[in-house]
């Protein structure tokens, strides 16, 4: 039988998610996922001098989706945009102490949402 247990770190971030919420005057916003699949994630960033000064998320989905959003926001807060762009799905999963194999693809969308938010910021800045 496959193991359906989450790591303690996943549980910690699921039950006590960090940086939940919205940033009303965000510099960049990224939404990924699809309610049909059961996961939707939005990440809001505030940028100052090329650094992520503030970051918030809202996630609809399973424990893996919520925990990966939470930990990803912690991992990149205070990092430069270039550093944040290098964050991968695997980095997020590793930081959580691993995710059940079945959850790796569908629920581990935080890096994608973050990259989208950064691209959104860069696009807006060009204008």
């Amino acid at each position: 039988m496959e193991n359906v247990d989450y790591t303690e770190k996943v549980k910690d971030h699921f039950f006590n998610p960090r940086n939940v919420g919205e940033i009303k005057d965000a510099d960049g916003v990224g939404t990924v996922g699809n309610p049909v699949c059961g996961d939707v994630m939005t990440i809001y960033i505030k940028v100052k001098d090329g650094v992520i000064a503030d970051i918030k998320f809202k996630t609809y989905g399973c424990a893996a989706a919520i925990a990966s959003s939470s930990i990803a926001t912690e991992m990149v807060k205070g990092k430069t945009l270039d550093e944040a762009m290098k964050l991968t799905r695997n980095d997020v999963a590793n930081e959580l102490g691993g995710l059940p194999a079945i959850k790796m693809h569908c629920s581990n969308l935080a890096a994608d949402a973050l990259h989208k938010a950064i691209k959104d910021y860069r696009k807006k800045k060009k204008k």
């Binding site: 496959e2 699921f14 039950f15 998610p17 939940v20 939404t31 309610p35 049909v36 699949c37 059961g38 996961d39 939707v40 994630m41 939005t42 998320f57 809202k58 996630t59 609809y60 989905g61 399973c62 424990a63 893996a64 989706a65 919520i66 079945i102 959850k103 569908c106 629920s107």
Partner: protein, 389 residues
């Protein structure tokens, strides 16, 4: 912390009386019921006594009951057994089975397998409550139809199917009628003669007997082909040494279930109705399944903008055991086929919660769950991008 078990649709505890009845068959009356010595004869008598108790519960005769390892095996034996035995007796256009789109995988996957090996299978659609269309059932019957298999009550949403009407249609067209009664047993009266049921699947661990034991009722005169070859137990239909402790437990659970049926039903219905009433006070919460034609112990909800696995884990952290039809908690990552069949969108199906009550639940359990639930729904909605009320 209070611990509340509301997942009796998944499994029940073994009743103390059942457990006491079983105990001697582990270490005192341990003979093989097929052996000729006294050790064996004593165990044999207990097996036959249980057969009678199982039969009594559904108004069948003891020789119409065979013991199995559980519900899945009973469903497999019913469908394959009758199909393999009768396949040469029907017309040349193919052998036809009619079932419903909302069956338990034990029936659904067996029927899909039958399709793969050359049988034709009709999967009847259901309405928004999960009830099959009787006209479509009757219209689907051809001269090659030999079996109708429709569940007594649905394991997820608790909807009770129109057994009496299906039985009449089956009888009128001379088609065998099998029902998976695993969730319904001991929660609603079942009389196989009154309902014209030819085959009926039973599972122990949903009725306070242990896991790993079940039974199949099949009407006298019906011939089945075995799917388990071996030593020839159960008239050659189901080889395998008798699980005498388990069988004794199943028999006792059936006897208890029969005696307590009215008491259990009244108790469960009261709790269920309170649970439904209180839960539906939550904003944008909905009841899945039929408002009246539902199992007395089943309450099935959905909540907008949240996902069921998250909801279940948070309930678990408060000591509450429940279940969900969300894709995120399934092995295939697909939303429940039942929730999709009643017309819910995948998104709606993800936000589902199944609470199934049991004999031991009390009013305080319902009060605890309905106290905790709104806060959890709220917390999850506050972090959901789909919730912007």
């Amino acid at each position: 912390m209070r611990r509340v078990y509301m997942d009796h649709g998944a499994s029940t505890p073994v009743d103390k009386e059942v457990l006491n009845e079983m105990m001697p068959y582990f270490d005192k009356i341990y003979g093989n019921p097929s052996s000729i010595h006294t050790f064996g004869r004593e165990a044999f008598d207990a097996v036959e006594d249980s057969r009678e108790k199982v039969a009594n519960l559904i108004n069948a005769k003891p020789d119409e009951i065979i013991f199995t390892s559980g519900g899945t095996e009973s469903d497999n034996l019913a469908i394959k057994g009758i199909a393999f035995k009768n396949k040469d007796k029907r017309g040349s256009e193919g052998y036809h089975i009619i079932t419903s789109a909302i069956e338990h995988p034990a029936v659904l996957e067996t029927c899909k397998y039958m399709e793969k090996i050359g049988f034709n299978v009709k999967f009847l659609p259901v309405d928004e409550y999960g009830i099959i269309d009787l006209d479509e059932l009757e219209n689907s019957i051809s001269k090659d139809t030999f079996l109708i298999s429709v569940m007594f009550a649905n394991h997820e949403i608790g909807t009770i199917e129109p057994m009496e009407e299906i039985g009449k249609i089956a009888k009128a067209h001379d088609v065998f009628f099998h029902t998976d009664a695993i969730q319904a047993l001991c929660k609603t009266p079942i009389d196989v003669n009154k309902l014209n049921i030819d085959l009926l699947s039973i599972s122990g661990h949903k009725i306070y007997a242990p896991k790993g034991v079940g039974a199949l009722y099949f009407r006298k005169g019906i011939k089945l082909q075995t799917i388990t070859h071996g030593g020839g137990h159960e008239k050659g239909l189901r080889s395998s040494t008798y699980n005498s402790p388990g069988i004794v437990g199943l028999g006792k659970a059936c006897a208890l279930g029969k005696n307590r049926l009215k008491k259990d039903m009244d108790h469960l219905k009261n709790l269920r109705d309170l649970l439904i009433k209180k839960t539906l006070e939550i904003e944008e919460s909905y009841l899945n399944g039929h408002p009246e034609k539902r199992l007395v112990n089943n309450a099935h909800f959905r909540f907008t903008a949240i996902e069921g696995e998250s909801l279940n884990l948070r309930l678990d952290s408060k000591g509450i055991a429940a279940a969900t039809g969300s894709a995120c908690s399934s092995k295939k990552l697909e939303a429940s086929h039942i929730l999709l069949a009643i017309g819910l969108t995948p998104e709606e199906a993800h936000g589902s919660l199944r609470l199934t009550l049991g004999r031991m639940n009390i009013k305080e359990d319902v009060e605890y769950v309905t106290e905790i639930l709104p806060g959890i729904v709220n917390t999850l909605r506050n972090m959901s991008p789909l919730w912007n009320r």
